[in-house]
């Protein structure tokens, strides 16, 4: 067959394809029917309307000097509800199925109007003995409490300040493997260890660079670069459940501003970073419907290494870099009746000590944010949240340095889910 016009061949192909599909349809329920093996599929949509007393451009340029690291110094337009007016925050397509008697497979595809990205995709074992489970692929680290939770599970529309400062608006989401062991105790006790690539730009990173001081090469870190360990335990006192956890993450921080550049000077960092986290969650059921819950996390990061930069006379220098950051949040949420929930949250960036070459850089510390929310659930598949934030943790660049720019925002958020019924974790 000799076809002159490509259009004709496309039409022909389509015809062949559709006749094939029709043929398949007439064979429904036949010997080779696979429809029963379709995985559980769910789609979640999240959108919001935002009013904020700061213009978008200025909002994107907000920063917490010394904390955001290493070169992504601006807040930027990342994260949910970033623009005034209407926001399409995300679409999330999730797939789950048992692979075979030995494995489960999960995948979460994050969708924006322009792009699709694999947020998580991992398999986990079903049958390892002795209370062990292996999970591997790309996943949200189990460091702390809020990090491994998907956004639609949160009680507030934004990530706690300290979690966003240390891991970014996307959280600590890495390629790697995790092993957990549930201890054979009468109370809940689990130990976990993760080996990850450690590419998180907010605290870690593997990029190699040329030292501006002497032109010598600092090689890229060969993976794995990040190790996470955690312990969680829980006890029940009457109808109250208390969950307590301690986590630690350590890895190398290697970053070059030419990769993620906003500041026009050549800077690079080679350091070791350790982050510890402590978390506490309490949930108390008042009756079959109403409950009150309290959740709090504390995180501390220490970075020790060398900063490669230029001095006041434009000469190349390489002072020691020492950073200590800590912060916490505490939130209380109450389920008031079948359809209403309300909560308060207090965020605080506590410590912000930056020392270069032994000199304290006097960065601002003790920076708070206050949030309040009320949520309405028509059913468990749809919910609407009204949240008020007063954020006093951010600064705008000025000619002489930075100046504090508190802002207030109101977010009306809608979150709806279709498809497979998601089971909730504690």
């Amino acid at each position: 067959m000799n076809l002159k016009h490509p259009c004709i061949s496309v039409v022909l192909l389509l015809f062949l394809f559709s006749s094939g599909a029709m043929h398949a349809q007439s064979n429904e329920g036949s010997s080779f029917d696979q429809s029963k093996f379709v995985p559980d599929i769910a789609f979640i949509l999240d959108a919001s309307a935002v009013a904020r007393d700061i213009k978008d451009q200025q909002y994107y340029s907000l920063t917490t000097p010394g904390v955001t690291f290493p070169f992504l110094t601006e807040r930027g337009s990342s994260g949910a509800s970033a623009h005034r007016g209407m926001n399409f925050n995300y679409g999330e397509l999730s797939l789950y199925s048992v692979v075979d008697p030995y494995f489960d497979l999960f995948a979460v595809i994050g969708l924006s109007p322009e792009s699709a990205g694999l947020e998580e995709a991992y398999f986990s074992s079903r049958k390892l003995p002795y209370g062990l489970k292996l999970k591997a692929g790309k996943f949200l680290s189990s460091f702390g409490r809020v990090n491994e939770q998907h956004e639609h599970f949160w009680d507030f529309s934004n990530r706690p300040l300290i979690a966003a400062a240390l891991f970014g608006e996307e959280g600590l989401n890495e390629i790697g493997a995790q092993m957990t062991w549930v201890a054979p105790t009468s109370y809940y006790l689990v130990f976990g260890a993760e080996v990850l690539n450690g590419e998180n730009q907010q605290s870690f990173g593997t990029t190699g660079f040329i030292r501006p001081t002497d032109g010598a090469a600092v090689d890229a870190v060969q993976g794995p670069n990040l190790y996470v360990g955690f312990v969680r335990s829980s006890i029940d006192i009457g109808d109250a459940s208390i969950l307590f956890g301690v986590s630690d993450a350590f890895g190398k921080t290697r970053a070059d501003q030419s990769v993620s550049s906003i500041v026009p000077t050549h800077e690079a960092v080679d350091a070791n970073t350790n982050i510890i986290g402590v978390n506490l969650t309490m949930k108390y059921s008042l009756d079959a419907i109403r409950f009150i819950s309290f959740q709090s996390e504390y995180m501390h990061r220490s970075i020790d290494g060398t900063l490669y930069t230029t001095g006041p006379a434009d000469e190349a220098i390489m002072p020691n870099l020492e950073k200590r950051h800590s912060g916490m949040y505490a939130q209380a949420v109450a389920m008031l009746d079948q359809r209403w929930e309300a909560g308060l949250r207090y965020d605080l960036l506590m410590q912000n000590d930056v020392t270069t070459g032994g000199i304290d850089q006097h960065q601002p510390s003790q920076l708070p944010r206050y949030s309040a929310m009320i949520e309405y659930y028509p059913t468990e598949f749809s919910r609407f949240r009204l949240q008020l934030d007063r954020d006093e943790s951010l600064f705008v660049p000025t000619a002489t340095g930075v100046s504090r720019r508190p802002y207030t925002q109101i977010v009306l958020q809608a979150n709806l889910a279709i498809g497979a019924h998601g089971a909730h974790a504690f």
Partner: protein, 298 residues
């Protein structure tokens, strides 16, 4: 020394679980736990997870449940998607291959009984519908022998040495049960054909078995709280159909039922749906005894 102090209790606890020859059984609801206990007696150690007076659809997935499931030889669930909102995560986090769905140590009771009201099509515009049918099958007393048999067979499969022990206990239970069902039937005879309204379709199995007619539900759709308009419709139906009783479970809000009771000549009866739902319903027999007592006293 510190090390010994920390490790010793851990080891002791480990040995406790390892040494006992009993089968460790976890049941999602109290009624299942009670049946397992009656068949397994001292050969099993049973824990029931959900509180009997809470909404069986929405149970808080406490981390302590993970610890209970970690060492279990058998998990017995109601099924029919009653546990779908809270149990799957618990199973995943328990790291116990014995009780994963499809394993020998996983028993879904809904697979053994006939479920009523299986929808021919499902859509969430119908509220929180269960595609496999109404999952509250325990409240048909004729289903208990079927459930008990399924549990007996599974216990025997996991612990073949005690097969005759489990079977004998099952026979005793079933005979005793059948006797009781006769007395309940006798007591409920005068109420046959009585028209009732219930809050949620939780007592359907019981009501059908004993010949009641269900006229309406206080919920407009499963899982959706009552609206003023719907309550007005129910009020009209109670009047025109001469309904005498509104059956209410222990966990849903009672304001709509009490409102109707105040306005019309209709009585609200609070009935247990599971072991532990009310104080008197402390075992499977007493769940039904109490339902019958409250209906006949009403």
């Amino acid at each position: 020394m510190k090390f010994v102090k920390f490790i010793l209790p851990l080891l002791l606890m480990f040995m406790q679980t390892a040494l006992s020859s009993q089968l460790h059984v976890v049941a999602t609801y109290g009624y299942i736990g009670d049946i397992v206990q009656r068949i397994g007696k001292d050969k099993v150690e049973v824990v029931a997870l959900a509180r009997g007076d809470y909404n069986p659809h929405v149970i808080v997935p406490k981390p302590s449940y993970i610890a209970k499931l970690r060492g279990a030889d058998l998990l017995v669930i109601n099924g029919g998607q009653l546990e779908i909102g809270w149990l799957p995560q618990i199973i995943r986090q328990a790291n116990n291959g014995n009780v994963q769905s499809g394993a020998k140590g996983f028993l879904d009771l809904s697979k053994y009984v006939h479920l009523i009201d299986v929808p021919s099509s499902v859509s969430r515009e119908m509220g929180d519908v269960h595609p496999e049918g109404n999952p509250h099958f325990f409240l048909d007393p004729d289903n208990l022998p079927i459930i008990a048999k399924a549990i007996t067979d599974r216990l025997s499969e996991l612990d073949p040495e005690n097969r005759s022990f489990y079977e004998a206990n099952n026979n005793d239970l079933t005979n005793q049960w059948k006797q009781k069902v006769k007395t309940w039937e006798e007591k409920l005879k005068p109420l046959k054909g009585e028209k009732i309204v219930e809050y949620h379709r939780i007592f359907d199995y019981f009501l059908r078995r004993f010949g009641f007619t269900i006229v309406a539900t206080i919920e407009p759709l499963p899982g959706i709280p009552p609206t003023t308009k719907h309550i007005a419709d129910v009020e009209r139906m109670i009047g025109s159909e001469h309904v005498k009783y509104i059956l209410q479970d222990v966990y849903n809000p009672q304001d709509a039922s009490q409102y109707l009771a105040k306005r019309l000549n209709v009585k609200v009866l609070i009935l247990p749906h599971d072991v532990g739902a009310v104080k008197e319903a402390d075992n499977v027999f007493n769940v039904f005894e109490e339902i019958v007592r409250r209906l006949t006293n009403g």
